[in-house]
């Protein structure tokens, strides 16, 4: 059974930390302002706008210790990551979830944070929020940012989006799991790896070669992650690259070919991505997926 952390009330505190790539402090200012306008207090970690000179927002120890402190601090009610990039996989095994498991809180992010989502789901059995991070708040308070607000307040989500010609219609319900495809592939075979049986899986990615997306889908398939799904949600695959000799398929065509043999409902073009369109999704929580003739709906149960 997956534990649902307490939803947030006005006056609760949200911690902001950068567990992966470097982020300048000013890039999180709009986020801080928005969170405050929602009535939350904000506690900012030192990894945001740190004096790190390399790729990371701090050393492994600094990033791990700060996240650990925020996981353990009872005065922090949720953790919103500044940004992804790369680095969660370097610290995940150094984190101690003992206190967190007893007193879970919402952790919020996507992309590189997929490692933490999967780990929390598989090992700690606590739900988490796959949603825009601090940098996305710079685009203004759009419906995707608002969906994050609603999700941590405990308002049940009901998302709909346009149909896509590759959709496979049908209804499914199950726990929602997923995230960034590259990270899901990367954690395969590790203790953070997810079991997708009877789940609704969602995937998205950015900046990959189409052949590499194809290869990762084959990895999901060959590691048994596609055969027994309840349903599948294909999010945005933004900034895809192609080889000099073209792959010959769009990324959606490649995905559609690989899943053609399965009978569960599949929704393409769902607004979960590295682009602006990125609804908050609760990993480990039950949803209903309706892939219909006129629209796709994802409803939190």
């Amino acid at each position: 059974m997956i534990k649902i952390p307490p939803y947030l009330k006005k006056g609760d505190t949200i911690g902001i930390t950068c567990p992966a790539g470097y982020m300048a402090a000013e890039k999180a200012q709009a986020c801080i302002n928005t969170l405050q306008s929602w009535g939350f207090d904000v506690m900012v970690g030192k990894t945001l706008g740190s004096n790190s000179v390399n790729y990371f927002s701090g050393t492994d120890e600094e990033r791990r210790d700060e996240l650990q402190a925020m996981l353990d601090d009872e005065n922090i009610n949720a953790i919103l990551f500044g940004r992804g990039g790369y680095g969660m996989g370097r610290i995940i095994d150094g984190l101690d979830f003992t206190k967190f498991k007893k007193k879970p809180k919402w952790v919020i992010g996507f992309s590189d944070i997929t490692v933490l989502h999967a780990h929390l789901y598989t090992k700690i059995k606590v739900a988490s929020v796959h949603a825009p991070m601090a940098a996305a708040f710079n685009e203004g308070e759009n419906e995707f940012i608002r969906s994050l607000h609603n999700s941590i307040k405990g308002k049940k989500a009901k998302y709909s989006c346009a149909v896509h010609t590759f959709n496979k219609p049908g209804n499914a319900s199950g726990e929602l799991v997923g995230g960034n495809l590259s990270l899901l592939a990367n954690i395969t075979g590790t203790p953070s790896d997810i079991n997708t049986k009877n789940k609704i899986l969602f995937i998205e990615d950015i900046g990959e070669q189409i052949y590499n997306i194809d290869r990762m889908l084959y990895q999901l398939k060959r590691s048994g992650k596609l055969a027994s799904l309840a349903g599948l949600i294909i999010g945005g695959f933004t900034d895809m690259k192609d080889t000099e000799r073209p792959f010959g398929k769009t990324v959606y065509e490649a995905i559609a070919d690989i899943i053609a043999q399965y009978n569960y409902p599949v929704a393409f073009g769902f607004p979960v991505s590295h682009g602006t369109e990125n609804y908050a999704l609760k990993i480990g929580v039950n949803y209903t997926l309706k892939v219909g003739r006129s629209k796709t709906q994802l409803t939190e149960i």
Binding site: N186, G189, T190, D214, R215, Y218, K225, P246, F247
Partner: protein, 340 residues
């Protein structure tokens, strides 16, 4: 159970057993590896494209050299076929390779090139005849799928080496490294006991190891994790190489190896060539390949060496995967030697 124990305690001896003698019901990661028959002059080598596309004229240098070595060649239908990036459709590539696996007159299969595509056909190949009458499978990069799959599921040795696209068109003006590495394929095929001497890197971790050699392209190994082709690395000497990846991505792949338990029980680790994609401005990773590897293995005691001549580079020697080797990493000398 007893039988398995008996066999695995005599690995060097058992390595020369035929596939038939291995007791198929008990094939596991520790079962002895079958060595396909070495080639004699007059034997036939099949050439096909299980992944990327290759023009017939581009395999001519390989055909000439193989003939010079005394081999006949059989060029598969996929050479010259083109389905966008692939050397034919999945079905065409599958059929061509299947037919070569099953054809008893073909003693080895040399892939024309890598690219991407092995994983799209591997699960539809039937290795029944191959398992009974093993033959050498030769290639690298995307062919890591085959090395890994065949090692894990069939316990048959394979050759990790350059493919047709690396045979120099003008042999006489080719660099010594090009010639030597191509010649190493001939040596492997003819059953020469292989020895590799290479320059020590000051970051090496010295030591001596004996173990079965496995490995290949790091990205491909990562993409096989969790699948039926995923390799067990316990008590083995693992080699890895890659090309065109960012440092952060290489780091992430080494974490996959580590977190999936593939680094913990190695006998030795060989780092080949890594052609690194330059970091984007402002995103400098700040660690070298040596840093990335050493931090992952600092808690282990086996030897680790860098700059081994294997990879997407001219210095890419033929290696027998699945075969027992000795790795000696010393301050003044590094050596990998096939055990007989």
């Amino acid at each position: 159970m007893k039988r398995k124990h008996f066999l695995s305690s005599f690995i060097p001896l058992a390595a020369s057993l035929s596939a038939v003698a291995r007791g198929k019901t008990s094939i596991g990661p520790e079962s002895p590896v079958a060595i396909p028959p070495y080639l004699k002059p007059g034997d036939t080598i099949g050439i096909c494209c299980p992944a990327g596309f290759m023009k017939p004229e581009d395999i001519q240098p390989a055909l000439l050299k193989l003939a010079e070595w005394g081999f006949k060649t059989k060029v598969g239908a996929t050479v010259g076929k083109k389905d966008f990036t692939y050397g034919g459709t999945d079905e065409e590539r599958l059929q061509d390779l299947q037919q070569m696996l099953d054809d008893k007159s073909i003693k080895a299969i040399l892939f024309a090139r890598g690219g991407y595509g092995g994983v799209r056909i591997i699960d539809n190949l039937n290795f029944k005849k191959f398992d009974r009458d093993p033959k050498w499978i030769i290639g690298f990069s995307d062919a890591t799928v085959f090395h890994s799959h065949i090692n894990e599921k069939y316990r048959v040795a394979t050759i990790h080496s350059k493919m047709c696209n690396s045979f120099p068109g003008d042999w006489n003006n080719a660099e010594p490294a090009q010639k030597e590495t191509i010649e190493s394929i001939n040596k492997c095929l003819k059953g020469e006991r292989m020895k590799y001497l290479f320059t020590p890197n000051e970051k090496n971790k010295t030591g001596l190891a004996v173990g079965e050699l496995v490995g290949g392209n790091l990205k491909t190994l990562e993409s096989l994790a969790g699948s039926a082709s995923d390799i067990h690395t316990k008590d083995k000497i693992l080699f890895v190489e890659d090309t065109g990846e960012y440092l952060y991505s290489i780091d992430r792949m080494f974490w996959n190896l580590k977190r999936s338990g593939k680094l913990e029980k190695l006998k030795g680790l060989i780092i080949g060539g890594f052609k690194i994609k330059t970091d984007d401005a402002g995103e400098e990773f700040g660690k070298t390949i040596e840093d990335i590897v050493l931090e992952k293995v600092s808690e282990y005691n086996y030897p680790v060496c860098f700059d081994f001549p294997v990879g997407h580079q001219k210095n890419n020697f033929a290696l027998k995967c699945g075969v027992l080797h000795t790795l000696g990493v010393h301050l003044n000398e590094c050596r990998l030697t096939e055990v007989r």
